[in-house]
Structure formats: C-alpha cells, structure tokens
C-alpha cells in the first residue's frame, strides 16, 4: 500500500468511524429511553393498583 493510498483510506475511514460513533451514541440513548419507558410503565401500574382498592371499598348502607 502506497502512502497516498493510506491517506485516502484514512480519510474514508475517519468519516465511517465518526458515523459509527454517532450510531453507537444514539443506540445508547435509545437503550436509556427504553429503560425510562419501562420504569414509567411500572410507575403507572403501581399508581393504578393503589387506586383500585380505594374504588373497591363498598358503600356503607344504613339498615333500619
């Protein structure tokens, strides 16, 4: 491989390396967003569970 060929390869490799780095950063962000969604889903489920027993309490009926 000549020096000129090495420089041309380096120029193209730099572009693809930066592109790859960007994709890796975005993939890490998508993973974090996925964790956040799972956490919020669990929070919403807990909130629903805590509201359900309150709704399930029967009304007191006066007899007599």
């Amino acid at each position: 491989m000549t020096t000129e060929e090495k420089y041309v390869a380096a120029a193209y490799l730099v572009v693809f390396a930066v592109l790859l780095l960007y994709v890796v950063i975005m993939a890490a962000k998508v993973t974090r967003l996925g964790r956040d969604v799972a956490e919020l889903t669990e929070l919403a489920r807990e909130k629903k569970r805590s509201e359900e027993p309150a709704k399930a309490v029967p009304k007191q009926v006066k007899v007599g």
Binding site: T2, E4, Y7, V8, V15, M26, K29, L43
Partner: protein
Amino acid sequence: MSTWLRNNPVTALAVLTAALLTASIALIFFYAPVDADGLNQKIFYFHVPIALTSYACFGWGALKAFMHLWKRTPTADLESYVAIHQGVIFGALTLVTGSIWAKVRWGTWWTWSDEQLVLFLVLFLFYCAYFMLRFSVDPGPQRANLCAVYALFGVVLIPISFLAIRLANSYIHPTVFRSSGPAMATSQFATFCVAWAAMLSLAYFLYRFELAGKRLDANLKELRELLA
C-alpha cells in the same frame, strides 16, 4: 408500500441513505477515473459534499431560527438546535478530511495563509460556541430567542466562506466549480452528484433520527412529571 413509507419515514430514509452511500463508494472507486492529480483526488468526492452538507445544515438551522423568531413555531427552536448539531458534526468531518487531503497534496496538515480554510474554521468555531451559549442559559423562551439570534448571525459567514476562494488572492485551495461550469469530466461530476446526494440524505436521516429521540425524551420527562 406507500402506507409503509408514510408510517416509517425515518426507516425509509435510512434505507435510501445506505443505498446512496453504497452507490457513491462504488462509483468513486470503480467508475470515476483517476485524473492527473493522482489517487488523492478521490478524497474530493467525500470532502466537498460533506462541506456543502455542513453549509446546508447551518442554513437549515438558521431558517428554523428565523421561523422561531418570526412565526413562533413551537418546534422550531429544537429543530434549529439539531440542524446546527448536524452542521458541526459535518463541519468537523470537513476539517479532518480536508487536513488529510492537504497533507497528501500540499505536504502540510493546515495552512493559515488560505482564506477558505481559515473562514471555514471560523464558521465551525462560531457554531461550536452556539452550544456554549445554549447550555449556559436555563431552558425557556429567553434561551430559544438568544440561540435563534445567534444562529442567524452565523449564517452570514456561509456565503463569505463559500465565496472566499473566489475572492482570495492565494490559489492553494483548488476551485472546481466556476462560472463556466464544473472543471471535471462528466463521469467525475456524476459521481460527485451521487456522493453529495448521499451526504444530504445522511444528514437528513441523522437530523430526523436525533429529532425523534429528543422529542421522545421531552415527552417522557413530561410523563414522569405527570405520574409523580
């Protein structure tokens, strides 16, 4: 097919970008001839489209900033920020690929005597400072207005940077596009056009991808506050 495209525009854009990048690489190394300058001329097919794409990103960011100031479009501030972020990434790639090409062609990584190089560096640093401004002010309407005004000031540097080579006295940096037309063979110009289309497509894909991530992040923050 058209319904799928409407429902998955970012995926479709990713497929188009991959196809264009593959086509441009094939054209650069198997179709475009090696001219008198030697193999190092192949860097031109990525270096110039990347530089033009960074100008386009900065211009798009400025347009969105203008939309924010003029029409108060609610999404314009975020769109302007993401476009400038893309512009800075492509600007950094322009400087790196340009330096590598300069080392082969001129025997030096950088020269301060060339107006085109220095003005592009000034433009790049100007937009790098945009992030310092953005992250030093609390989020809100004031930050959006300040950033929009700054982005609009920067756009003035684009025509100056682009025309510098034509106005400059030194001719170290080659001028390929002249008023008489492109100074290259038809096959080289066709390859250049495909490479430029690939870079524009790549920039637009990354713009839409990052924007989708930022919007999702904002929606999740709001949802967290609502559930708390």
